[in-house]
Each structure stands twice: as structure tokens, then as C-alpha cells.
Symmetry: C2
Subunit: 439 residues, 2 copies
């Protein structure tokens, strides 16, 4: 048990110095990967926020990693990099706790293209600042605490997403991950070596006592309901599929409607079917990408390739939605005279977090007078991978208007502060716990 005095000291430093230090670090990392301001702004005043792009293992990601590692070293943390490029800053335990399983607090610092400043980075820097608090208080925790940044959470450049934590949790072979080809043709393992983050630790080198992740909600629920903290109970199941429709490319001016095999129209019908399915069943369904070939104004599309993203916290309902869409495709083939093929890219079952962690998140928020609701995460997170190997929980703060994966992503300073303090209090409660189970 840490004594009340120590807890108070940590808390006081965190809500003052700590939050300011974290904000400064957020700003610093948020600048890395921005397009050249001179070019972007020219002479006019910028009215829209600017996005940054740090795709996994690109030069901007390397620069952000270097910055993170430098901060870890400034705090005299032991820096470990594993073969997957996951970065760990380790704060040792007080005497007697050296060999206890560590508490791990993590997230990611890679981004999507033209991203906001918070997704992932906020959680990593909150974890780092929590270790900073211990350094500032000149005290050590009863077990080690690790601040983690996982490789390639976004999955934009290399698929699947959440790759670093998935490999860490033993859910995906390291060799296969290293052999992944990116959208730019690069091999992940080569890029890891190129940027200097092919580390020597084996992924999964330590099994945490518990894993905590603080993250912006990336959805509108907390903002809409004016709630301050989300105690995340789990993550929706996620199903990703690529669908290819092959019809016949024909002249738009000479081919009678009845003789067409319009792949674009078939894709549009699939999009509308998914919308109706979503409204009817509650399963979220999105067609986010769609490409037509040849894609010319005067040619009936001969080919359409589109993506399907389906999510549901209920595994049965998600499976039913998948099955219903799968049954629709042969009808579409027949009615439009096209051929349809599909490939599953991702199929993650819903994940339930550990009640022992969820309860402590909720208690920590309420104790500080923050309004809090339990909620399911709509987005995927590294936490869902870590939940495979240790008791896991997440803390959400509101995203204004639910916007994320865009430069408009925003969470106010007070909300960011409440998130950091809830993380700290939850972590201290967990550090004080004797046994919270293994999952």
C-alpha cells in the first residue's frame, strides 16, 4: 500500500505540473508529421486546423518515436524496444516489488493520414506523465510501471491494425507481421530496421499485472450526453471485408439500361442494403472506400471494389448481420448480372474488459466528482489485444462532436485533465490491489 501522503503528493503534482507537462508534450508530438506550414499556409490566415500524418514506421513516426524515447531517458526510465518495434519505458518498483508483474499503461503514437492531435498520443503521454509524477515525487511504486507505445495501431500503411499489441499478446506471428507488405510496397520488417526500431526484446516479454489505456472516445456519446468520463466495459466486434463486383464496362451512350451489367450500380445497391441493415439490426455498417473501373464519365463501370466495416458489441448480432449481407450478394449477382467476390480482412470478436479494472475506473472518476458512464468502445484499441493476456480496462474522455481521424479532433483541456487524473487514481488503486485475477 502506498500511504495517503504519497498518493496526495502524486495527485497534486499531476493536476498541476503534470497536466501542463503533458500538454506541452502533446503539442510537440502533434507538430511532427504536419505538412510544411510555409507551403500550406502561404500568405493567408489559416482558419481550419491542420492535420498531421505519421503512418506506422514512416519518417514522421520515427521522429515521434525518437522524441518519446528521449523523454523516457530524461525521466531515467529503462527503455526497451521489442522485435515488433513496440516501445516500453519502465519505472522500477520500490524495494521488494522488483519481480512483481508490472502495471502497463499504453496506447500508440502512429496516426491515420491528416489526423487529429489526440488519438493514441494522449494515452501514451498520459502514461509517460504518470511515471513523471513518481519521479517528481521521488518515490517508487510497489510494482514496476511500464509506459508503452505499440507499433502500427492504425493499420493504414500495414494491415491488420492494432498489429503491435496483437503480436505482443501472441495473437499474430512476429515473422508474418514483419513480412507484411505496405500500401507503398514496403516490407514492415525492413522499415522497422530502417528507422532503427527493430528491437531485441521478444514481443510479450512480460505479462502485465494489468493494462490500462486512456483514449479520446472518437465517438459522440460522451459529448452528446455531457458526460466527463467513460468507463469502457469492452470493445465492439469488428468485421472488415473487401468486396469486388465484376460487371461489364460498356459505352454509357449506347448500352440500353436493360443490357447493362453496371458494377457501380451494384455497389450502390450494396451500400443501401447495408444502411437498411444497420437501421433495422443496430449493427453499424459502413462503406468507407469505393473504387470504380475504368472510372470514366462515359463508361458504365465494369468493376467496383468497396470496403465493408461492420461493428457490434454483440457477437451473435454481428454474425447475423454478416450472414445477412453474405446472403444478399448472390441476389445482387443475379439481379444485376454481375459477379461478386469478397475477402475478409479483419474479424475480431467483441472483447469484454475485466470487471476488476472497470469498477476501479468508475470508482476513481466518481470519487473525484467526475460524471461517468459505462460504455462500449466503438473503435478498436490496443487494449482489446492486451485483454487477451491480462486484466484490462480503458478510460474515455469526450471527443467534441465525436470527430476523430481528422484535424478537427478536439477534447477540451478540462476533459483532458479529468482523463489524466482518472488514469492516475485508477492506477494507484490497481497498484494497491493484491490480486485482481489473470484476465
Amino acid at each position: 500500500m502506498m500511504n495517503e501522503h504519497t498518493r496526495k503528493k502524486l495527485h497534486t503534482w499531476m493536476e498541476g505540473e503534470g497536466v501542463r507537462a503533458m500538454m506541452a508534450r502533446l503539442f510537440t508530438l502533434g507538430e511532427i508529421g504536419m505538412s510544411d506550414r510555409d507551403e500550406a499556409e502561404s500568405a493567408e490566415i489559416r482558419t481550419e486546423p491542420q492535420g498531421r500524418t505519421r503512418l506506422a514506421l514512416d519518417d514522421a513516426d520515427r521522429q515521434a518515436r525518437d522524441r518519446l524515447v528521449a523523454w523516457m531517458r530524461e525521466l531515467s526510465l529503462e527503455v526497451r524496444v521489442d522485435a515488433m518495434g513496440n516501445i516500453f519505458g519502465v519505472l522500477p518498483a520500490a524495494e521488494g516489488g522488483e519481480h512483481l508483474p508490472p502495471l502497463m499503461i499504453g496506447s500508440h503514437i502512429d496516426t491515420v493520414g491528416n489526423a487529429g492531435p489526440l488519438d493514441g498520443v494522449y494515452g501514451v503521454l498520459a502514461g509517460l506523465t504518470l511515471l513523471h509524477a513518481f519521479r517528481a515525487a521521488e518515490t517508487l511504486p510497489p510494482r514496476p510501471i511500464i509506459a508503452a507505445a505499440f507499433t502500427n495501431e492504425e493499420g493504414v500503411r500495414y494491415q491488420p491494425d492494432m498489429m503491435g499489441s496483437l503480436v505482443y499478446a501472441g495473437g499474430y506471428p512476429l515473422e508474418q507481421a514483419l513480412d507484411t507488405r505496405g500500401i507503398d510496397g514496403t516490407r514492415l520488417g525492413d522499415e522497422l530496421t530502417r528507422i532503427g526500431y527493430a528491437g531485441s526484446y521478444p514481443p510479450g516479454h512480460v505479462t502485465p499485472f494489468a493494462y490500462l489505456e486512456l483514449h479520446v472516445e472518437q465517438g459522440p456519446v460522451l459529448d452528446h450526453e455531457k458526460m466527463q468520463i467513460g468507463a469502457v466495459t469492452g470493445v465492439q466486434g469488428i468485421f472488415w471485408q473487401n468486396v469486388t463486383v465484376e460487371g461489364a464496362a460498356n459505352h454509357a451512350g449506347t448500352t440500353p439500361t436493360a443490357l447493362r451489367h453496371d458494377a457501380g450500380l451494384a455497389a450502390a445497391r450494396a451500400g443501401l442494403f447495408l444502411r437498411e441493415l444497420a437501421v433495422r439490426s443496430g449493427t453499424l455498417a459502413t462503406v468507407g472506400s469505393l473504387r470504380l473501373e475504368p472510372g470514366l464519365i462515359n463508361v458504365v463501370p465494369g468493376k467496383a471494389v468497396f470496403s465493408v466495416d461492420m461493428r457490434d458489441p454483440d457477437a451473435d448480432r454481428l454474425a447475423a448481420a454478416q450472414a445477412e449481407f453474405a446472403a444478399f450478394l448472390p441476389r445482387l449477382e443475379q439481379e444485376e448480372g454481375v459477379r461478386v467476390s469478397s475477402r475478409v480482412l479483419v474479424n475480431f470478436a467483441p472483447v469484454a474488459f475485466a470487471p476488476a479494472v472497470i469498477d476501479r475506473v468508475e470508482a476513481a472518476a466518481q470519487r473525484q466528482g467526475f460524471s461517468c458512464r459505462r460504455m462500449v468502445s466503438g473503435a478498436g484499441h490496443d487494449a482489446q489485444m492486451m485483454a487477451r493476456i491480462c486484466p484490462t480496462g480503458m478510460i474515455f474522455v469526450p471527443s467534441r462532436a465525436g470527430l476523430s481521424h481528422c484535424p478537427q479532433e478536439f477534447t477540451g483541456p478540462e476533459d483532458l485533465r479529468r482523463g489524466v487524473l482518472t488514469l492516475l487514481e485508477t492506477a494507484l488503486d490497481l497498484l494497491d490491489a493484491e490480486d485482481i485475477g489473470t484476465k
Copy 2:
């Protein structure tokens, strides 16, 4: 009047030597703009036909132009190039006809990307071979005959399409055409100079007595009905529009269906609306190109840009379809919570060809025992521009399965022969005519 002996001599040469010469020229031009065979074929046997790409004024187009001009010179034709890059090979008239308005026979030699071998080229080479027949018969026509190749019919690199003939017919200012920016950022006038085809003749330098164009149908009607020749009575009205839908890019996993402003879904609804409109009204409607932004699997599309192609031989029906679609867009805005804007790219009214020419095409086909039907062209052609300034007609031959604008574009040798002979007989009838009116 040309005497029967001369007509017979021309016909006999044309159906033997002439057709073989044209086929050889078709093959030669068809090779220009093909991707490198070594690279494309490697060691395996090619089973699919190979396409060629000669976008207006690119290097392949220049090479094809050089080849065409060389053939014109070999036939001792006077070569004229106008300021729009349109190429003319002039066969002089027999004594006494030097100053009569010429008969013009033309089409284009530029192609779409990955095109078939016939679209445009067939008509240009048939015209050239018709002049070749006069040289072979060592006779001259009662009025000059011009074989023409118009610049940028396809409109892929520079818009609008049919630009060379449109400028020739006085429907578009030369300076504006030369200032056109291409999809590759180039200025049309600069490219014309670069490839050496910025000629000195003013566009429209001569008003033809009549204009004839032989072309593959590019649609399935003749092939489907097993007809050999189409006597084209006119060209459908064509309406091109670009539509931009602006919604809100949101996370696909966290944004409830009811809170979405899905630009991709709105575009899909527009596509389905157009299909229903086409089925109901008879107006052809096509969404050939569609782009989603950001176009990521896990982001609700915030923006969709798509094209609309509508065609109808009936001007009123085409206008009604346009109006109906325009009235749908505000409904779509309201129901999906998106903003829609649109820009008209092309709006050509339906064109009626000259009965004096149509009748002669039909008569020429029937006289030779070729099955023939009157039909409206679904595609746009240079002939519709020339119809603004002189009596005009077109001859269609079947396109197998209606395929065009793709490497599979095919018309059998017998059909190509029937087209050339119908062109010859129609031309001879027109050359014998005293007065066919001015439009």
C-alpha cells in the same frame, strides 16, 4: 457525273486492294500507343487483346499523326494542318471542279486509355483509302475530297470532347481551346506546338459540300439485331455533370447510424435514383466515376464526387430527366444531412443529320445487298459538330457485343469491308449530286 466505268473501277479496287491497304494501315496505327510488349507479355502467352493509349497530343498521338501525314504525302495529297491541329489531306478535283466546296470524310485518331483498334481510326483510314482509290484509278473527282482527322475527339486529356471539330465548326473559340488545361496540368496549345501540329490554317477554313463519317457503332444494336449497316439519323443529346456531396467524415465504429452524414451513401442513393429514372423515362443515365474522401475503410465518407452522364435523342425528354434529377438533390440534402453542389460539363442538344445524306447512305447499303437500319447514335461524334455547318451523315458498322473503349472492341473483316464500300458508294452518290442544301 462520273461515268459508270470509273465508278466500277473505284469500287473494284476498293473491295480488293483498298480494303487490304486499309487493314494494313489499321494494324499499323493500332500498334502505336501500345504498352511495351516485352514487358507486358513476358514469357507467357497473351490471351486477352492488348489496348493502346493515344490521348490527344501525347507522344503516341504525335507518332500516329506523323504516320497519317506520311501516308497522305505518299498519295500526293495536299496536307493542311489548322491552328487546332486538325489534319486534312486534300485530293484535288478534276478540271472545272477546283473551286467547288469539297466533300469531307473524317473522324479522329486519338483514343481513350487502353482503347480498342477501331474507334475513330477506322473512319479516318477509310476516308484516306477512298482517296487512295482515286489515285489507283488515276482519276479525279468532280469536286475536291478531303480526308480529315480531328484533334481530341475523346476528351480524356482535355475537355470538352469533340473539341477539334467543335472549334472547326465555330462552336468554341480557338483561344479558349488552346488555353485548356489537361488532366496532367499541360496547356493544350503548348502540347500542340510541342508535337509540331500547331498549323497555320484557320479552323473552318473551308465549308464542306457535305461531311461523311464511318464509325464502329460502339453499341450493341446492330450486333444484337444482326444488321450490317446503320444509317445514322442523328446523335443523342448528351448531358454531363459533376456532383459533389459534402457530409461529415466520422469514425465508422463510433458514430451511430442516425447521427451520420454519409456522403458515400448519398451518392449511392443518387446512383439508384438515376437508374430508376432511366428505367422509367427511357433516358440513359450513368454514374461512371465516383470518388470518396477520405476513402478509408473505417471512416464514414465525408465527401463524394461523382459524374452523371445522361443521353436521349429527344431534347424534351432529356431536359425533363435533368430537371427531375436536379429536383431530387435538395431532397437528398435534407434526408441525409449533406450539402450537394453540381457543375455542368457538357450539354449538347440532340443533332439531326441531313435527310439528303441519310437517304444516300441507306440507298448505297441496300443497293449492295447489305442489311441496313436507320438508328440514332448513342455516342458523340465529330459528325455532330460538322452538322452545324454542312449536310452531314454517318455510317455505322456493328461492334461485337457493343464493346468499345476497351481492348475487346472488335468488328469482323466482312463488316469493315461493307462499311468501306457503303462509304465509297455514298461518297460517289454525293459527288454526283448537284445540290443537297446547306445543312
